[in-house]
C-alpha cells in the first residue's frame, strides 16, 4: 500500500468514526480518562488496520513505509483526537523492542502496545541523573537466571499506568559510566516496585517516581548486550526526535489554527502571529525531511537534536502567543477552553527540559555536528 492510498483510506475512515474518537477536554477530565481514550483510539485504529501499517509483520504489523505511521499520528493529532505526548510513546518504545529484544519477546509484546492493551514507560532519569544520563546508579545484580534491581527512577512518564518498563540499570562498577549500563524490559507488576505519581505544574500526575527494591527481572528480558545499554539509549533517543515530533508538529499547527480561528478581533498581533506561523512551518519542513530519511532506512543520529531544538522553541512560541492572545482565559478561566489553554501553556514550559534539555541538545550539536571537540 502506498502513502496516498493509506492517506485516502484513513481520511475516509476518520471522517466516518470521528464522533467516537473525539477526545474530551476540561477541568473534569481525568488523566485516567485520557489514558482510556488513547487506548481506545489505538484499539480502533489497530482493528481497522491503520495502526499496523509501517510496522514489521513479525510484531503484528502489516509492513510498508514508516511514513504511514507518521501520517496516522499526524491525522489523529491534527483532528484533535489524541494527546500526542501519550500517543507517540509507541514510536519510541516499539522500535527499541524490535531492535534490541529477543525476537520472540518483541513478537509477543509489541502487538499489545500497538493494540492499546498495554501501556509502557521508559525508566531513564534518576534523582541524581538528569542530563548526565551516563552517571545513573539504579543497580542490577546478576543472581542466577534473574537480575535483581534496586534503585530509583524519576520523571518516568505514565508509570502508574504502565504494564512494562524499558529500564536502564547499572551493571558495571559505579565508575563504569556509559560502559556499564544494561537495558532491561521489566514487568511493572513484579514484586518490589513502588510507583509514586508526582503532581506537575500543569495539574496532571503525568510523571512518577519509581522505586525498585530487589526486583527480580528474568535475564531473557535483557535488551541488547549486557553493559551495552548505552547503545540502546542512544538508539532510542533519535526515534524520540523523529516520528513523535512529527505528530507533535501536527498538534501545534492544530492548536495555532484553533487560536487563529477563535481569537477575539484585535487580540492577535499580526507580526507575532506571522512569526509563529513561520516557525511552525519551518519545524514542519524540518521534521518532514526527517520522516523521509527514516522511511528510506537512513540511520537517525545527532542531527535529530536540531529537530528537538526547533520543536521546543516552536512549542513555547505557540503557547507564548496564546498567553498573549487569551491572557485572561489562561490566568482566570475555569471553563474547558480556558483550562485547556492554561494546561497546555504550562506544559509547554517543559519542552526545553524533557527528552534532553535545550542545553544538552546544543551540546550535542556543538560536539557531533559542528565538531567543536569536547567542552573541557
Amino acid at each position: 500500500m502506498d502513502l496516498q492510498e493509506f492517506r485516502d483510506g484513513l481520511d475516509g475512515w476518520l471522517d466516518e468514526h470521528e464522533p467516537e474518537l473525539r477526545a474530551e477536554f476540561g477541568p473534569d477530565v481525568t488523566l485516567d480518562q485520557e489514558m482510556e481514550h488513547v487506548s481506545k483510539v489505538r484499539r480502533m485504529t489497530y482493528d481497522a488496520g491503520f495502526m499496523r501499517r509501517g510496522w514489521p509483520e513479525w510484531v503484528g504489523g502489516l509492513g510498508g513505509s514508516t511514513l504511514m505511521r507518521a501520517y496516522l499520528g499526524e491525522a489523529l493529532a491534527y483532528r484533535d483526537l489524541i494527546d500526542p505526548g501519550i500517543y507517540s510513546m509507541t514510536e519510541v518504545l516499539a522500535p527499541t523492542m524490535i531492535e534490541f529484544a529477543r525476537p520472540e519477546l518483541a513478537a509477543e509484546m509489541v502487538p499489545r502496545l500497538l493494540r492499546g492493551e498495554e501501556t509502557w514507560c521508559q525508566g531513564f532519569s534518576e534523582p541524581s541523573t538528569g542530563s548526565n544520563l551516563g552517571s545513573l546508579s539504579c543497580r542490577a545484580r546478576r543472581d542466577g537466571d534473574v537480575w535483581r534491581v534496586t534503585g530509583q527512577k524519576v520523571w518516568t512518564s505514565l508509570a502508574q499506568y504502565a504494564d512494562r518498563c524499558v529500564l536502564l540499570t547499572r551493571t558495571g562498577t559505579p565508575e563504569s559510566g556509559h560502559r556499564g549500563i544494561t537495558a532491561l524490559f521489566v514487568d511493572m507488576d513484579a514484586p518490589g516496585i513502588t510507583v509514586r505519581p508526582i503532581r506537575a505544574i500543569h495539574g496532571r500526575d503525568e510523571f512518577c517516581e519509581v522505586f525498585f527494591d530487589d526486583v527480580p527481572v528474568p535475564v531473557d528480558r535483557t535488551l541488547g548486550e549486557v553493559d551495552r545499554g548505552w547503545a540502546v539509549a542512544m538508539d532510542l533517543l533519535p526515534y524520540e526526535r523523529s516520528t513523535s515530533l512529527w505528530h507533535r508538529s501536527a498538534y501545534l499547527r492544530q492548536r495555532l489554527g484553533s487560536l487563529l480561528s477563535s481569537a477575539p478581533d484585535g487580540a492577535l498581533d499580526p507580526a507575532d502571529l506571522g512569526e509563529v506561523v513561520q516557525m511552525t512551518f519551518a519545524f514542519h519542513a524540518r521534521s518532514r525531511g526527517t520522516q523521509h530519511r527514516m522511511a528510506r532506512g537512513d540511520r537517525l543520529g545527532p542531527e535529530t537534536s536540531v529537530d528537538k531544538v526547533l520543536l521546543a522553541t516552536t512549542e513555547q512560541a505557540v503557547f507564548d502567543l496564546a498567553a498573549d492572545t487569551v491572557a485572561a482565559d489562561i490566568a482566570l478561566g475555569d471553563d474547558p477552553g480556558g483550562d485547556r489553554w492554561r494546561t497546555e501553556f504550562l506544559y509547554s514550559r517543559a519542552a526545553t527540559i524533557y527528552g534532553g534539555s535545550a542545553e544538552i541538545q546544543r551540546d550535542i550539536i556543538a560536539r557531533r555536528l559542528l565538531d567543536l571537540g569536547t567542552d573541557r
Binding site: A271, L372, R376
Partner: protein, 329 residues
C-alpha cells in the same frame, strides 16, 4: 526529480562558475553549464543548487533575473535583465498611465551590461510585463553596505510603451515565489559560510589555555546558528518543491514568502552570533566575515524583507482566519 549524481555534478559546476572574479565571467560560465535550460526544465531542483552556492561564494550574477523572467514565461537570456521591486517590498516596480511607463526599482549586477530589461507594471488595475531597452531607463550603481553585489537602482519616467503582455496576478505571485525561494537559498548558503568561518576561528583561537570553542557560551551560539540555518534551509527546500510548471499549487506563494522571511531573519541571527564569537577579527576588513554579513543585509531586502513579509502574513491570516495548508508528507 533530479538524481543525486546529476545534482552533485551540477553543484560542482556552479561552484566553479562562482569562482570567477567578475559578473561577466560568472555569467559566461553559467551559460556554458546550460543553467537557463536546466532552470526551464527543473526549476525546483536547480534553483536551490545554484543559489546556495552563489551565497556560499559571495558571488553576483543575473541568475535571479533568469528565475523571474522564466517564471513569467518571458524569453530568458543573458542580455535580458529584470527590474526588481524596491528594497524591502515585493510589489511590481512599474506603473503605466496613458501608455507611459514609470519605473522605480532595483537591478542585479546583470542590469548595467544588459540590452533589455523586463518591467512588470500596474496598468489600470491589471499587471503587464514590458520589455524595454535599458538605454531608456536610468540605472545608477548602489554603493551601500554591499558594493560587491553590484546592485543598481532603476528609474524611468514617461517611457513610451508599444507592446506589453498581460501578467495574471497568479503568474506574478508564482514569479515572486520563485525569486523568494532563490533568495532564501542564497541567504542560507551565506549563513553556512559565516558559520564555517566562525567554527574555524573557534577551534584555533586559544584563550585561557584552551580553544574558545570549548566554552559553553561559544558552543551554544554556534549550535544556535546551525539550528537557524537548518530551519531556513528546510523551509526553503519545501518551498522549492512547489515550484515549476507541473507542480503549480495554490499553496506555494505563502510557503515561499515564509521561507524568504525565515531565511532573512535567521541569517541575521547567524550573523549576530558569528560576529560575537569572531569578536575583534570579525569587526575588521581583513577577515572575510564582513562580506557575508553585508550580503545578508542586502539580500534580506530583495523581494520583501523578513519584517514586512512576516507582518503581511499575519495580516493575511487574520483576514482568512485559517492557517495555510502545510506540505503533505
Amino acid at each position: 526529480m533530479m538524481d543525486a549524481q546529476t545534482a552533485g555534478l551540477l553543484a560542482q559546476s556552479f561552484e566553479s562558475a562562482f569562482r570567477h572574479q567578475n559578473v561577466t565571467a560568472v555569467e559566461a560560465a553559467l551559460e556554458e553549464i546550460g543553467w537557463r535550460e536546466a532552470l526551464a526544465e527543473e526549476a525546483a531542483d536547480v534553483i536551490p543548487l545554484l543559489f546556495t552556492r552563489q551565497g556560499g561564494a559571495n558571488a553576483a550574477s543575473g541568475a535571479l533575473d533568469d528565475v523571474l523572467n522564466t517564471a513569467l514565461g518571458l524569453p530568458a537570456d543573458g542580455d535580458t535583465a529584470f527590474v526588481l521591486p524596491e528594497f524591502g517590498t515585493c510589489t511590481a516596480p512599474g506603473s503605466v498611465r496613458d501608455g507611459d511607463l514609470t519605473v522605480s526599482g532595483l537591478g542585479t549586477a546583470r542590469m548595467p551590461g544588459a540590452a533589455r530589461a523586463v518591467v512588470v507594471a500596474e496598468d489600470g488595475g491589471t499587471l503587464r510585463a514590458a520589455v524595454v531597452e535599458t538605454g531608456k531607463v536610468e540605472t545608477r550603481p548602489v554603493g551601500g553596505v554591499d558594493p560587491r553585489l553590484g546592485l543598481v537602482t532603476v528609474e524611468a519616467r514617461g517611457v513610451r510603451l508599444d507592446e506589453r503582455v498581460e501578467v495574471t496576478a497568479g503568474r506574478w505571485a508564482d514569479a515572486v515565489a520563485a525569486g523568494q525561494v532563490a533568495l532564501a537559498h542564497e541567504l542560507a548558503g551565506t549563513g553556512r559560510v559565516m558559520l564555517g568561518l566562525t567554527r574555524e576561528h573557534a577551534v584555533t583561537r586559544i584563550q585561557f589555555g584552551r580553544p574558545i570553542g570549548s566554552f559553553q557560551a561559544v558552543r551554544h551560539r554556534l549550535a544556535e546558528s546551525l539550528v537557524a540555518i537548518e530551519a531556513a534551509e528546510g523551509l526553503a527546500a519545501a518551498a522549492a518543491e512547489t515550484l515549476g510548471p507541473d507542480r503549480s499549487d495554490p499553496g506555494s506563494a505563502p510557503l515561499a514568502a515564509m521561507a524568504k522571511a525565515v531565511a532573512g531573519r535567521n541569517a541575521r541571527t547567524v550573523a549576530r552570533h558569528c560576529q560575537q564569537v569572531l569578536a575583534g577579527v570579525g569587526f575588521t576588513d581583513e577577515h572575510d566575515f564582513h562580506h557575508y554579513f553585508r550580503r545578508v543585509l542586502t539580500l534580506d531586502g530583495l523581494l520583501g524583507d523578513a519584517r514586512t513579509l512576516t507582518r503581511g502574513l499575519g495580516e493575511e491570516l487574520l483576514r482568512t482566519r485559517r492557517l495555510p495548508v502545510a506540505p503533505p508528507l
